[in-house]
Subunit: 163 residues, 4 copies
């Protein structure tokens, strides 16, 4: 039984640089495992917000109706990262379903060719009003395809089942 090889830098189509924080390190002296998800989350939302695909909203009832919730996440930790320093988060879309988006993410030390950690996040498009899944809006599909989809990424009608 063996693990799939790590995905190198070239796998990723969009990058988000993130500053580590003093509090990211835990009692074992390196970045706590939960912090990687805060980075992934930030990288993904920064891409979607930067592309104009949704707005958070600053007042009650403000913001766009279509947003994305996280339905699944996973991370494989390969080597420790530590504050201080910058981390580069790579992302690429692996798969569109009807409502769902599966992303690959990698956390790289600056200039490193191989990741310190890599993960996968499945988002589901949701109407903020109804809190129910909706088909991926057309502008999401076209913009993400253009800017962040991996060449081997797939578009499918069906969703990965999620609850």
């Amino acid at each position: 039984m063996s693990r799939p090889p790590l995905r190198p830098r070239a796998h990723y189509r969009h990058w988000h640089r993130i500053d580590t924080r003093f509090g990211d390190n835990d009692a074992f002296g390196h970045v706590n495992n939960a912090v990687y998800y805060a980075w992934y989350d930030t990288a993904l939302n920064s891409f979607l917000l930067g592309a104009g695909l949704y707005q958070i909203g600053q007042t009650p009832g403000g913001g766009s109706d279509a947003i994305a919730y996280i339905a699944e996440s996973s991370c494989r930790y390969v080597s420790a990262l530590r504050y201080p320093g910058m981390v580069e988060i790579g992302l690429s879309l692996e798969r569109f379903g009807q409502s769902s988006l599966s992303w690959h993410l990698g956390a790289f030390a600056e200039h490193a060719q191989m990741p310190s950690a890599e993960g996968r996040i499945v988002q589901v498009c949701i109407s903020r009003r109804t809190e129910r899944p909706i088909p991926i809006p057309a502008p999401w599909r076209s913009t993400i395809t253009e800017r962040a989809m991996h060449p081997d990424g797939v578009q499918e009608k069906a969703d990965i089942p999620w609850s």
Copy 2:
């Protein structure tokens, strides 16, 4: 020049127990300074929510209109707290202004008579709709006076200036 004496347990009128988390400890091996404010925030909001004075709201535009923002906060760290373990947060209202509430808070190790840290938080009542200060709602004033005001607490017409 000397510092005011620490406030003992008897100073506080309402208590909130909080579980420390593994990630609360930082690279120096004790709870990070910023975490105390997350505890204070949680203790205060839990008191206000538990007393039915406001609702967070789960949908856009939901929740009560009157909420409280934090205008000032401070903390004096006396002795280190560490995960694992429970912490007891004491709170008592020190002063009502027209829109503002000044709270004393203390972070105590279980069974300790003297605090490991003590702080002060000034909240300002805000209309969520306008994001502007509003007079403290009458039910806030009466409920807090009854359940959490220190015997030496004061009620004043004027606010501590805040911006």
Copy 3:
């Protein structure tokens, strides 16, 4: 293609109650996805510390030499949890390798029979001095088997490959 059914309460052998915090809720009004991992981490470490299997150490060079790092983690989010309220984290050991431990975790709202989220964490035993994997210490194996191993849990000589 279908997903495995959710694991009910009865699947878990050890429980850790955790207090939600005001800051756990994110801009979408429910607990942020990364926070579940902070809960899992806390539940696991509290079990291991409570069973006397390792010590964090409060001074440089203090604490036990054998600790556990997280090599992999994953979470499936089923329904939103929100501050305020308590969450109950269930855990049970699914598999021992030579150096690795695979855990099932579930995040349950109080009194709920089915989880709001469920996850899996693979830990690897490490010597803090060398930062290299070591065989699971005998007291870990016996104590965890007794207190937290699932009846269908397996003991294998080989590790799940991890990097």
Copy 4:
């Protein structure tokens, strides 16, 4: 009674840019009050580490013996900051005691002339081995004086009393 005027950009001698994170925003839609302290902490430690004044240490017992603990902190919140976006943290040393350092900090939106929040942190130099205060090391005093001390900053023999 009136509050002191806010300190403008020109007050600060050293700057640290920090990336906001999705999880920095709380249920009220702006950065949570506790997060500002995580930023201040990061800005201060990044300055001290970048100047070579201390090392965190990556192994048990590693790192420098002289480190700084936070004895007091405070913050005045003036206008809301929100993810996404960069924040600029300014810092300048206000006062040296025998063991203590008092810092002014300001959190500025990019390009803003006036701060969204401003704070004060008192650090105390500690021996990591004994966990007791020690006189500020000479290289700290000279480097900080040169790179981050405010022209009106003072050097005093006595410490602000701290416990």
